[in-house]
């Protein structure tokens, strides 16, 4: 093993053996999956069956309101309640009902009608929306009768248009928004890793410098070898952590979805919840079940067919390494130029600014993938590792040339930054007690 191999090995093993690494690596996916599951679980929790007491001043509506398993409606007449105050008292004093729904007499006549919903435990916005929908549905049916329009005529009136987005080149149907989301998650991961591990490179350099071990080591290896060994060693730490995260997350979600929440990962179920409001209208315009199925199929299609996984993962690894080498080498130069971490602020800001900018542009790209800013930033090497994957996830066809240009630019730039960083590093690591300025660092570039 060459000397640079020894350095890579040391950088890698000392970091991987650290307790904090183990903790982060195992806790990371558990936390992420835990939050996710927790959020979904909480969302499902509130959907308990509700008993609703309805006081209907029109005496027409309450009989036509749509019943369902979850929403059980009872007319107040059955309880012998004639006015709103009695209803409120009844709700307060009996555990029998969860909600008291009051529909005033004018609710049918006006266009914007106001009813009242009294509760003991605040209902979710879902419940509120559902109730609004079924009241709306009843009013509609009532008016249809008044106007003498048959249900069939009404269905023909009320159409529902969906626009499917189709790529003209590949003739594929795509869910652009969701695909961009997947790309953004990739970009976000690259952003996070560059940040986390770039800072580690800087800290590692500062540690060696302030420990005063650096002079011993550069008497055995070239400063450039030491710097590259550190950068590459830490890169492997990042890749290791990433791979473990992906595997652990997959294992966790699969186990959980098979055991604890069998329904949760079922696309049809997800679609159903998403379609709930439409179901509630109750007029059988379109069989709701098939619509749910369609959304489910779309989701599966997105995951299994539309995302070019091979290309995405290949490019992810490339942009991860390229972006990391670019920023990591700059961070190493900063670490070499300062004496302690407190002095790094002025140098770190100009380095992190383009990184954060890239993140913002990537977020923008979800909404507007073809804006000029997004196209430019997917080429500029300082932002391309984060932005390019969002574009690729939306369809790589026609992007080949742009992808290659951006890759070539990235490689050329990180070779450039590594060279510059190597020069600054070489001089900086042996400078003590001297506050480096940009002018000073520029001089170091030209040292023999």
């Amino acid at each position: 093993m060459g000397k640079i191999g020894l350095i890579i090995k040391r950088e890698y093993t000392t970091r991987v053996k650290k307790k904090s690494f183990l903790l982060m690596t195992i806790l990371g996916p558990i936390l992420i999956v835990g939050f996710l599951v927790g959020a979904i679980w909480l969302g499902q929790q509130e959907e308990k069956n509700l008993k609703i007491l309805v006081l209907d001043d029109t005496y027409v509506l309450s009989n036509t309101l749509l019943q369902s398993e979850k929403y059980h409606l009872t007319s107040s007449q059955d309880e012998g309640i004639e006015n709103i105050d009695d209803g409120k008292t009844f709700l307060k004093e009996n555990d029998q009902y969860d909600i008291f729904l009051y529909l005033p007499g004018n609710i049918v006549s006006g266009n914007t009608s106001v009813g009242k919903l009294f509760y003991k435990d605040a209902p979710s916005s879902n419940v509120q929306r559902h109730l609004e929908n079924i009241v709306d549905g009843s009013i509609e049916r009532l008016r249809l009768k008044e106007l003498n329009i048959s249900n069939e005529d009404y269905s023909r009136l009320k159409n529902k248009v969906q626009l499917h987005t189709i790529d003209v080149v590949s003739n594929e149907e795509k869910n652009v928004g969701m695909r961009a989301g997947v790309g953004f998650i990739f970009g976000l991961m690259i952003y996070m890793f560059i940040f986390m591990y770039g800072i580690q490179v800087m800290k590692g350099v500062i540690e060696e410098k302030s420990n005063r071990i650096v002079e011993v080591i550069v008497s055995s290896v070239k400063p450039f070898e030491l710097m590259m060994g550190k950068i590459i060693g830490i890169m492997f730490v990042g890749l290791t952590q990433f791979i473990i995260w992906v595997m652990l997350s997959l294992a966790l979600t699969t186990t959980l979805s098979l055991t604890v929440f069998p329904d949760m990962m079922n696309p049809q179920k997800m679609a159903e919840t998403a379609q709930m409001e439409q179901v509630a209208v109750g007029i059988e315009i379109e069989p709701t079940n098939s619509e749910a199925e369609e959304v489910g199929k779309e989701f599966q299609d997105l995951i299994f067919n539309q995302i070019p996984w091979g290309l995405m993962i290949g490019l992810f690894i490339f942009y991860f390494i390229g972006g990391y080498l670019l920023y990591g080498s700059l961070m190493a130069a900063v670490g070499a130029a300062v004496d302690s971490e407190t002095d790094t602020q002025q140098f770190i800001l100009p380095i992190t600014a383009p990184l954060i900018f890239g993140y913002i542009v990537a977020a923008m790209a979800i909404e507007n993938p073809n804006s000029g800013a997004v196209e430019w930033c997917s080429q500029i090497p300082f932002t391309s590792p984060i932005v390019m994957l969002v574009r690729v996830s939306m369809g790589a066809e026609g992007l080949a040339l742009e992808i290659i240009t951006s890759m070539v630019l990235l490689v050329a730039t990180f070779i450039g930054t590594t060279w510059v960083a190597g020069r600054i590093y070489r001089t900086g690591i042996l400078m003590y007690g001297k506050k480096a300025s940009y002018k000073e660092m520029f001089k170091w570039l030209r040292h023999k």
Partner: protein, 325 residues
Amino acid sequence: MTNETPIFEAKNIVKEYSGHRALDNVSIKVPKQSIFGLLGPNGAGKTSLIRIINQITAPDSGEILIDGKPLQREHVSQIGYLPEERGLYKKMKIGEQAIYLAQLKGMPKKQAKQELMLWFKKFEIDTWWSKKVEELSKGMAQKIQFITTVIHRPKLLILDEPFSGFDPINTNLVKEEIMKLRDEGATIILSTHNMGSVEEICDNIALINNSKKILGGKVNDVKEQFSEEKYIIEFKGTGVAFANAIWGGWEMVNNEQLGKNHAKATIKLTGGTQLNDFLKGIINAVEIESVNKVIPSMNEIFIRAVENESNSKKEVTNENTNQDG
């Protein structure tokens, strides 16, 4: 020894750092199996030279020869370097760290471990193997650093202030080890401000001041060069009798009455007076007990050489400013 190729030779080394000349035409020869004192005030250029030998930086011009061959990357494994600014990885275990440093010098892992064990025993620190550096005192860490410098049996050892941070007992231990290493064939370049140790263990020295070598050679020759015609004479008799015995050709530097009829005088001969002639002159006045030549200490030589240099430089700069004015 003089005919042998020196293990290390620097020829006309020049090094500049953005306008500041750190080494100005410095040439040094270090004979094989000797201890060479590289002396000079702070900021004189010693560290610059040492870094060039270790190929941390390159000279602007000049040549370095190791065993007669131009300095190359491969020489790294034949050189051991203990920098003045030295440290260790705080969180790493001592044994692992020592093996790592030995491996960087090109030693195989197994061999490194075996030999490190021997050294750890010798320095009575074998129980520290699995400790972390942050648990050690400064002196303890120094021992580890010394071991890691010599572990790969370098032909040329460069030690920059090796005794700083050691108590007298450990200073002696290290001193003995340095001399033992020389006896076993190594050559040592020792950079230090501790003139006592220079006198004790160095065979040759070079004194660098203001980027230039101002003095060099065997320790005894240098001392000879700096010795003035100064003698300490002990005698029976009085100082007055002594002083009046001979006129001219000498100066009384110091006169000390040790007892009623017993004194010690430090004299300096001037104007080419021979010691024998002087003694002939006083031999009738007092009874001579002993005569010793005053040999300057390295400390004195260091201070005198550096002060002379800076004085002459000051004169030059003064002249320059006068001309400018």
